[in-house]
């Protein structure tokens, strides 16, 4: 089923964005800082990927679940979305744990319950 991989990635991104929106962790409170952080992280991970492909370590496999569009040789259009998902997940997890929203035992956690870095 073409597009299933991208659909899965976008579903994941939507889930993370929902948590981010609910607790105002990143994108919806510090938009410019979030976009800059994710942009740099995406560039870094893409460079990592391109070097792996260049070294012949890994490459695009079966296209059964891909759209079938390549941005570059062996780089499917889905790849930057996957790397964005990883980066956004890491940012929201960090900020969430920093604010302790994932700990049920913290009664004062929540939107303004903790300090930010």
């Amino acid at each position: 089923m073409p597009g299933l991989y991208l659909a899965g990635i976008l579903f994941g991104l939507a889930g993370i964005a929902t948590i981010d929106f609910k607790y105002r962790l990143a994108l919806f409170t510090q938009t410019k800082r979030t976009l800059t952080t994710l942009g740099i992280a995406l560039g870094f991970f893409l460079a990592w990927d391109l070097n792996g492909i260049g070294l012949g370590v890994f490459w695009e496999g079966s296209r059964t679940y891909l759209l079938g569009i390549d941005l570059l040789a062996e780089v499917p259009v889905e790849e930057p979305f996957f790397l964005l998902l990883l980066s956004y997940l890491l940012l929201v997890c960090y900020l969430g744990f920093q604010r302790q929203i994932f700990h049920k035992e913290e009664p004062n956690s929540g939107i303004d319950g903790g300090k930010r870095a």
């Binding site: 510090q30 740099i40 070097n51 070294l55 370590v57 695009e60 679940y65 997940l89 870095a117």
Partner: protein, 103 residues
């Protein structure tokens, strides 16, 4: 067994360290380690889906050969470096946050 993928990971780990060492050293360890643990766990699950579906393939002579399920152990490098690098980068960019909510 081959060190190509491992060396690639060490190179990019070094890049991240070279660019962000002061911010990495200053990180609060608890949220970083909790985030690392969660994302490594999620990587173990979803990388197995990605590799299992054949979306990405690896040259068996360019990886160590150690796998978590079907996922090459080197794949975890992305999550590990990101778990330290992204919070460090976020803190480095604190001036981009709105004054009311940063610091």
């Amino acid at each position: 067994m081959n060190l190509s993928y491992l060396m690639l990971n060490l190179l990019f780990t070094w890049f991240a360290w070279a660019l962000l060492r002061r911010n990495i050293r200053a990180l609060a360890w608890r949220p970083v380690l909790l985030s690392l643990a969660l994302v490594v766990l999620l990587t173990a699950v979803f990388d197995n889906v990605i590799v299992g579906l054949g979306i990405v393939e690896y040259d068996p002579i360019r990886i160590l050969g150690a796998r978590v399920g079907v996922a090459p152990i080197e794949d975890f490098g992305y999550a590990i470096v990101g778990a330290f690098g992204i919070p460090a980068l976020w803190n480095r960019l604190h001036k981009l946050g709105c004054p009311a909510s940063s610091e």
